[in-house]
């Protein structure tokens, strides 16, 4: 039996650890956390000067306006991909902090395909996407070998490779790949057939790609033998080895997939949002990806939901800045509050108040 620790809040109540958590309670607690987070955010926005009655309208606008929905979906695609990349790595106990570097690697690879005009027009997008995934995975091979062979912490090695990728990209953007038209340090624009098109009523190809990837990940993690083995590698690598699982191979595969997904995210950002390779296209995605994976508890389906939530927060934040001059710092504050509320709701999932004798 697990030891329970009992502390007292008030004279007649104590806390105890819960033993099980049915789905309805989990949904209830997370919804309650969301409501609390939103309530706090509303309070902050009102203090920041946004008239209260406009706020309801604001959220409705984000959720119902065609332009905003489009923006949300476009923004959600790379967030879902990066969140999925973090999640699959975390499932193998590999702390991949190099998501941004892998995104850059993917973006650079896709842009290279565009600049070197590899492949016929009809399949250029596919070539770019595949190149992005492959190079993104390649960018994570070296730190993984360092970890598996020499026990070098991947937290440090993947993180530092972000900078190497970034400076290499600057080298290209300020040099050989500088746009000749205006000499600005971004790549020449992608041609029309090199951009991810809008497929149907605002749903872009990038979003569909993200959903397809998640569907594959759901199969991989929940239904396949690989996913079954991966859960043992995550919970107890010692036992996994003695049970005959190929721990090194399973870990390596998960990490490669993670790199490939991050690379694909880089491709999606460049080919749908930016339309070219820019200096700062990757900024913030690494941190967001990690947070999304944590909130989603490394579950691919939850990554979609949490990614959408992030995208909604992001677009709403943009609208607040543009229409109400709410400073960016306040927008970030609100995002942080909502994340803290949801993460903190864990406490209520794991404990309950009991009246003491």
């Amino acid at each position: 039996m697990t030891r329970l620790s009992v502390t007292s809040l008030m004279p007649s109540y104590t806390l105890e650890v819960r033993m099980d958590n049915p789905l309805w309670r989990r949904v209830l607690v997370i919804s309650a956390a969301l409501v609390v987070g939103l309530a706090l955010s509303v309070a902050i926005l009102v203090i920041a000067g946004v008239p209260a009655e406009n706020l309801a309208g604001e959220f409705a606008v984000t959720l119902l306006d065609a332009h905003s929905i489009n923006a949300v979906l476009v923004q959600a695609a790379p967030l879902i991909l990066v969140g999925a990349a973090a999640a699959i790595a975390f499932r193998a106990r590999y702390w991949n902090l190099g998501l941004e570097g892998q995104m850059i690697a993917g973006g650079v690879a896709a842009t290279a395909m565009s600049i070197w005009q590899v492949g016929p027009e009809a399949s250029r997008l596919v070539v770019m996407g595949v190149a992005a995934a492959v190079v993104g995975a390649a960018w994570v091979i070296f730190p993984t070998i360092l970890k598996l062979r020499l026990m070098v912490s991947e937290i440090i090695s993947t993180l530092l490779l972000n900078y190497i990728a970034m400076y290499f990209m600057y080298h290209l953007l300020f040099g050989a790949w500088k746009d000749p038209r205006d000499s600005y340090p971004y790549s020449p624009e992608y041609k029309a057939f090199e951009r991810l098109p809008e497929l149907w009523h605002g749903i872009g190809a990038g979003y569909v790609l993200a959903l397809v990837v998640v569907a594959l990940l759901v199969w991989l993690t929940q239904l396949s033998r690989f996913g079954f083995s991966l859960r043992f590698v995550h919970d107890n690598p010692n036992f996994a080895r003695r049970a005959g699982l190929w721990v090194v191979g399973i870990t390596f595969s998960s990490v490669l997939i993670s790199g490939a997904l991050a690379g694909t995210a880089g491709f999606v950002v460049s080919a749908s949002i930016q339309g070219r390779l820019t200096q700062a296209f990757f900024t913030g995605y690494g941190f967001s990806g990690i947070l999304i994976a944590f909130l989603a508890r490394n579950n691919p389906l939850m990554v979609v939901i949490v990614g959408m939530l992030y995208a909604i927060l992001f677009v709403t934040g943009q609208n607040l800045q543009v229409f109400y001059q709410v400073p960016f710092a306040v927008v970030q504050l609100i995002q942080a509050i909502i994340v803290i509320c949801i993460a903190g709701s864990d406490f209520f999932l794991n404990h309950r108040l009991v009246r003491r004798v």
Binding site: R225, R231, N238
Partner: protein
């Protein structure tokens, strides 16, 4: 006669619907050793956790020195004079003994004086007839010595009521005898000593009074001096448990040869181990812990570090495969299986479900293909296994396996390993921490495996266990097998071989 130290009345405690304690009353006096006897899950640890302030009861009262008290946490209990020595010691390994005692005193907001504490430790240690150097780092001490530090710590805090939770589980026979003396000594100074145990030997050796619990209720309160072992067993488990009889079926050909196995370090534990095991026999390896047993099991499980020597496994066509440096996966394919001593770390994934922890043994066959794991097949296999192995405490196959009690988890592990239909099975301390009933069940499974032609290697520090079911007994000392005996072994000769290094 003697004054009452502790009186618990009508205690009731439930954990989410499971009734751990049902109207339990317990009394203990100063100057006596009381025993709480019961199987795992009987409720004795829960009762003592309530007395030491870790849990609070839903009903019932606690009286110490005839004053009703209610604890809001362990600190209240310590202030009331209750000191608990847990099975897993609460010591900081990197601190010295003195620093650990200082820490405990400081947490209780007493202002400790280092010199005073140093002297106090020496005084208490001499009174308990043991040598504890307060300057030694706890991490360098043996398990028995660490236990002494825990006891001294509790006494230094001024505990008049000392509770020991399964104290002999981690001790050798000699160390346990020495502990009994210490406990008698402490009781003689007027402290109330309570020992929570499932071992009859503890109760008979040291207790003035024993309260027997079963399934959350008090079954009886007896005087161990006038109660026989058989009577105590019956009270504890509800029926008589006969020890499984050793079989007389003859064994077959040799299937495992270990020759001159040595580890990587010259100072390493294995120094040329050699032995042979036949199919259909149980080869028991007796010996004091730390003589290379763990390294031998590691080598046979595919996680060892071997420099010299060979492990040879016999195939059906009378050929020998060199299994010395194979991986765990390869050894499993060759027909080996193992039951490790450290269940939590090496035999289970504690946060995964019961059914998954069973099905992992059948991951290549029987639960689906590479592309689709058949959850229904898993559930069916697991539920059959749980029923066949008589595993209790499984409210749902999807619950965490870490929630199962030690005995039940071990039954599941044994069932899983035997379901691989291995040719050779290595059992390392399979009954450590298990109560009488669960241990008998595990022994029964091993004997059954033996009768089915499996070669069983049983490695255990419990000489009784080795003597009870082995066909041949090897004594391991200093990294080698130094003597071999046929069953029934001469206990004296084996004991001598264990302690005399050649």
């Amino acid at each position: 006669m003697t004054n009452i130290a502790v009186e618990l009345s009508g205690i009731r405690k439930t954990f989410g619907g499971f009734v751990a304690l049902d109207d339990v009353s317990f009394t203990a006096c100063y100057g006596q050793v009381h025993a709480l006897l019961g199987e795992n899950g009987a409720g004795k640890s829960s009762l003592m956790n309530i007395l030491s302030g870790l849990y609070s009861p839903e009903a019932g009262s606690i009286q110490i020195n005839a004053m009703p008290l209610s604890f809001s946490g362990p600190k209240d209990a310590v202030r009331a004079g209750v000191g608990m020595i847990h099975q897993h010691f609460k010591l900081v390994d990197k601190f010295t003994a003195r620093e650990n005692v200082l820490l405990a005193l400081a947490v209780d907001r007493k202002k400790p004086n280092t010199q005073e504490v140093h002297q106090k430790i020496l005084r208490l240690a001499s009174r308990l007839h043991c040598e504890i150097d307060p300057n030694r780092i706890v991490g360098t001490m043996s398990v028995a010595e660490r236990q002494r530090v825990e006891i001294i710590k509790a006494l230094a805090l001024g505990s008049r009521i000392l509770i020991l939770d399964e104290p002999t589980a981690v001790l050798t026979e000699k160390e346990a005898s020495s502990l009994y003396e210490v406990m008698a000594e402490i009781a003689a100074t007027g402290t109330c000593v309570i020992i929570v145990t499932h071992k009859l030997r503890d109760v008979k050796a040291v207790a003035a009074e024993a309260m027997i619990m079963r399934q959350g209720r008090v079954v009886a309160t007896v005087d161990p001096k006038v109660t026989t072992t058989a009577e105590l067993t019956t009270l504890t488990v509800g029926t008589e448990i006969p020890e499984p009889r050793r079989s007389t079926k003859p064994s077959g050909d040799c299937v495992l040869r270990i020759e001159g196995l040595s580890g990587r370090d010259d100072a390493g534990p294995l120094k040329g181990t050699s032995l042979q095991v036949r199919s259909g026999e149980i080869y028991g390896i007796a010996g004091v812990g730390g003589n290379g047993q763990t390294e031998l099991v590691d080598a046979l499980s595919g996680v060892g570090d071997i420099k010299d020597g060979q492990i040879l496994v016999g195939t059906t066509s009378r050929e020998w495969t060199d299994a010395t440096r194979l991986s765990s996966a390869q050894l499993l394919d060759l027909g080996l299986a193992w039951i490790p001593a450290d269940r939590q770390n090496c035999a289970l994934a504690t946060r995964l479900s019961v059914q998954d922890n069973y099905a992992i043994a059948h991951i290549r066959s029987g639960i689906g293909s590479r592309f689709w794991i058949n959850r229904r097949a898993i559930r069916k296999l697991a539920s059959q296994a749980v029923a066949a192995a008589d595993v209790h405490g499984v409210r749902s196959l999807a619950q965490w396996v870490g929630l199962l009690s030690g005995g039940n988890a071990q039954k599941l592990v044994v069932e899983r390993e035997l379901s691989r239909s291995p040719k050779i099975i290595v059992a390392h301390s399979p009954c450590r921490g298990l109560d009488v009933r669960a241990a008998a069940a595990v022994h029964g499974r091993l004997l059954e495996a033996r009768d089915n032609g499996i070669a069983v290697i049983l490695i255990s520090e419990d000489l009784d266990e080795v003597l009870a079911i082995s066909d041949r007994i090897g004594v391991m000392s200093n990294g080698r097998i130094v003597a071999e005996f046929n069953a029934p072994g001469d206990r004296q000769a084996i004991g001598d071989a264990m302690v005399n290094h050649v």
